[in-house]
């Protein structure tokens, strides 16, 4: 296939602006998908994607397209996720392309991830085609959206295409624009092989399936493939393309996008950004490599049943095969037993991992409240990274603590500015910039990451009636007045409830936690003192009074059976109790406090 007839592009946008629906339309229109087999967002093939109606993984598909010039083109389309947790998926997809379709929902306008993804495409030097979608909606504001594309993104508004991905309106024109505007890939098929790994997944039968973009040369089965970053050599077993199913082909050559298998055992052996070349005729220079996806949010995962520890380990191991952003290491908790401290890209990622573990592996899990990674500078001058509050060095050993900050964008109609500023203040946000865009504003804040991972997004959505959008990116570590808040039951710390937080937030958090515990801890044989403390200083205290009586006065007429049944029922209830030191707490209630 001549390079001039190949077009490689990604579809990027803010969440829900219609990327996957457009991909459907492109597949249907080019005949790549049998309309009888078509379902909505056909590329969202994972169960969770289908259920949640969102894209989590990038999806690659090759489409043959007979253009108006009567030439047949090969379009390699990559559909990407819109959610901020998965922007890593977007950036690595862009690395395989020359162009990007930037979709903007005509009813929503430019939003936070529109801007973020636009920058990603710019950085990757791609040709960007702005596409205004959902023009069929009655509330579509095409002109307003055009203006925003010009003002916020600095793109030529006349270049924007108007489509309805749902109805197919404007999609034929879009196909032509793809052919005409996006450059054909460079590269020399005769040169030594130089392929970029932009994704991979583990298949139990074929080992690792590597997504590749061929930049130079060609690859076919039997070739000894050298992975340049680690020097390993594998024999290529199969090359192919996604239709979207995997379909083997004779060879992949410069400019093309597809996959190869080579008996690679672990996803980690063929990392994103890896350069694959012909071991017999290696290329001169490897790609610069690619940053790893870095976990930002951490939480302890524990099996509800102690006996499920090994199953949990195996399950996380399996998930990790296809999710290199997920990190884990064993940890133990007095309250929760044996588990793992896991790292996630964000809260959605965490939820998804949890759901998959529960659903696909049938595990019942306890998840501790999510936190971030802190940097502790010790008095000895060392830097320690802390993801688990209970690992924090003692106050005497700490010189200061640094916490991760993010730079964030908030897009919202002007009328919501006040509540947004109030929310930002509550979340220790620092205002950076404000830009008026007609009836909307774009506000830039720096936030401590810890403040936005839990309830920030929900609150933002609710104070803005759903109109505000939000995006963030890691910025830097900054010194902060962080403290460790411990919760003690009768003097014993419940390690699973310890949190690191800003001193200004400690009192309120301590008070809330103590109150919540008081509400869920049933009365025991003895008084239970619940204390929230920073070091040895108690900042909040609650008491659960001792139970005074629990007795069956009478076994009426010798009805012993009834009494035994009652006790047996109580005993059943005890099984669902969690033992914290000497104090018994109903499992469910304890989990609800953990989650809060």
């Amino acid at each position: 296939m001549a390079l001039s007839r190949i077009r490689n592009f990604s579809i990027v946008a803010h969440i829900d602006h219609g990327k996957s629906t457009l991909a459907d339309r492109l597949l249907a229109l080019t005949g790549a998908m049998d309309p009888k087999k078509a379902v909505d967002q056909v590329l969202d093939s994972m169960d969770l994607e289908r259920e949640r109606g969102i894209t989590i993984k990038q999806h690659t598909v090759r489409i043959p397209y007979l253009a108006e010039d009567s030439q047949e083109y090969t379009l390699n389309l990559i559909d990407t996720p819109g959610h901020v947790d998965f922007s890593y998926e977007v950036s690595r997809s862009l690395a395989a392309c020359e162009g990007a379709l930037l979709i903007v929902d005509a009813a929503q306008g430019v939003e936070a991830q529109t801007l973020a993804n636009f920058y990603l495409a710019l950085e990757a030097n791609l040709t960007i085609i702005p596409v205004i979608n959902k023009i069929d909606l009655p509330q579509a504001d095409v002109e307003g959206t055009r203006r925003q594309i010009a003002e916020i993104l600095g793109l030529n508004p006349d270049e924007a295409l108007l489509i309805s991905a749902k109805l197919g309106t404007g999609v034929p024109e879009l196909l032509e624009a793809i052919v005409h505007r996006i450059p054909s890939p460079p590269g020399d098929p005769a040169a030594p092989l130089k392929a970029l790994v932009f994704d991979s997944f583990y298949d139990p039968y074929q080992g690792v399936v590597v997504y590749v973009r061929i930049y130079e040369g060609r690859v076919r089965a039997g070739m000894p493939a050298l992975l340049m970053s680690n020097g390993r050599v594998y024999e290529v077993q199969q090359v192919g393309v996604f239709t979207p199913e995997m379909k083997p082909v004779e060879e992949l050559s410069a400019g093309q996008v597809g996959y190869l298998t080579a008996g690679i055992k672990r996803v980690a052996d063929a990392k994103v950004g890896e350069t694959i070349t012909d071991n017999n005729r290696p290329t001169a220079e490897a790609f610069p490599g690619y940053r790893d996806a870095k976990p930002m949010v951490f939480a302890g995962l524990y099996p509800v049943e102690d006996t499920a520890y090994q199953s949990l380990r195996d399950a996380i191991d399996k998930l990790r095969l296809n999710d290199s952003a997920l990190t884990f290491e064993p940890e133990t908790s007095l309250a929760l037993g044996y588990g793992f401290r896991c790292g996630f890209l964000g809260l959605l990622h965490m939820e998804i991992v949890q759901e998959r573990l529960e659903r696909e592996f049938g595990l019942a899990l306890i998840v501790t409240s999510p936190s971030v990674r802190y940097r502790v500078i010790t008095t000895a001058g060392e830097t320690v990274e802390i993801e688990n509050p209970s690992k924090l060095p003692t106050a005497g050993e700490i010189d200061h603590i640094e916490e991760p900050f993010v730079r964030s964008s908030v897009f919202a109609p002007t009328e919501f500015m006040n509540p947004i500023y109030r929310l930002a203040q509550d979340k220790r946000g620092e205002h950076r910039a404000l830009e008026y865009l007609g009836k909307r504003v774009h506000i830039t804040f720096d936030f401590p990451l810890s403040e936005i991972i839990v309830d920030f997004y929900d609150r933002l959505k609710s104070i803005s009636k759903g109109y505000a959008s939000f995006d963030y990116d890691f910025l830097e570590f900054r010194p902060s007045d962080m403290v460790k808040l411990d919760i003690l039951l009768n003097g014993d710390a419940v390690d699973a409830l310890s949190v690191i937080l800003h001193r200004d937030k400690a009192y309120e958090k301590g008070k809330t936690l103590a109150e919540k515990l008081r509400a869920v801890i049933p009365r025991q044989m003895f008084e239970v003192a619940i204390q929230a403390a920073i070091g040895s200083r108690v900042i909040a205290r609650e008491t659960v009074k001792a139970i005074r009586k629990n007795v069956t006065a009478k076994c009426y007429g010798g009805d012993i059976t009834r009494k035994r049944k009652l006790l047996e029922k109580q005993k059943e209830g005890k099984k669902r109790m969690k033992q914290l030191g000497k104090v018994e707490v109903p499992q469910e209630a304890f989990l609800s406090v953990l989650r809060s």
Partner: protein, 376 residues
Amino acid sequence: MTLAWSPSRRGPLGVYLHIPFCRQRCSYCSFNTGPYHPAAMDRFHSALLDEIDLVGEAAWAGDVTIGTVFFGGGTPSLLEPIELETILDRLRKRFALDPGAEVTVECNPESLTRAKAEGYRLAGVNRLSLGVQSLDDELLVRLGRLHSSDDARRAFDAARSAGVDNVSLDLMYGLPGQDVARWESTVRGVLAWRPEHLSAYALTLDEGSRWAGEGVAGLPGEETVTAQYWALARMAREAGYEHYEISNYARRGFRSRHNQVYWRAEEYLALGPGACGFLGDVRYGNVKPVERYCTALEAGGLPLGTHEVLTPAQRKAEKVILGLRLSDGVPLAWLEDARSLVETWASLGLLEVAGDRCRLTEAGFLLSDSLFVHLL
């Protein structure tokens, strides 16, 4: 057809007979009882005699001795002495009723006269249990009782003058509107009568009682009920009574032998609707409705309702749990598997180990279910 299970030894066995009628249902009552009619009583009475005969047909019946008999209800004192006598006679005919057997009848004050008490005594009854409940007339009305505190006193005197030298009184605390002082005055009052035995139960509203259904205002809080328990414990001790079971007090030598059959996990026969029995390793109960009970017997069958064969583990657990209700406690060895629990309870002052036995303290009685749950 007779019982399919048999006692594990020759006795002595207990016998519980249920008399399922009352003149009026008390506000808190969820027991198996219905309105009294002479005709219904007649029908029931002959069914009960049939039941004794049927159970008495068992091969083992002639070999076992009966050590205690308890007429419970309902209101057993609705039985005429002659009716009661025929019942006891029938028991004697079918089983070996120990001449020294403890024979108790529960009586409601309004239906106990001197003549009746004497009739009972002559029939072989040697212990009466009087449902006094309270000496507070206002409370008695709320409870739906048909007697006043004076009636109770009269009934007690009637028993005494009829020559019954073993009388137990039933009391209730934790009643609506009852504070500690009001309770103390009831306790003071009845202790002055010098009964041989006292049972005192904190009010519990089980499903089926009027108050459980409609709700009732003024129930005292746990603090008050606990204080009432302690007031009784203290006053009874000072008056020379032994707190020998969670809810029972007795002067020396007057513990209820029949109740101890239950707490020692010994065996007993069930007679009458809804009565529960324990023979061998089987706990069983008769059908509850009087109508079904009578019909079954009239058709020549036993009125059995449910039964459960205890596993050895269940038997063992029951023995510990029931035994710990008594101030005698149980052999420490029975709690071998619960060492740490015993230690914790002892450290909280809820349990005492003395030699090779262990027993609950009065504080431990109050929290006993919290311990028993772990011993199942």
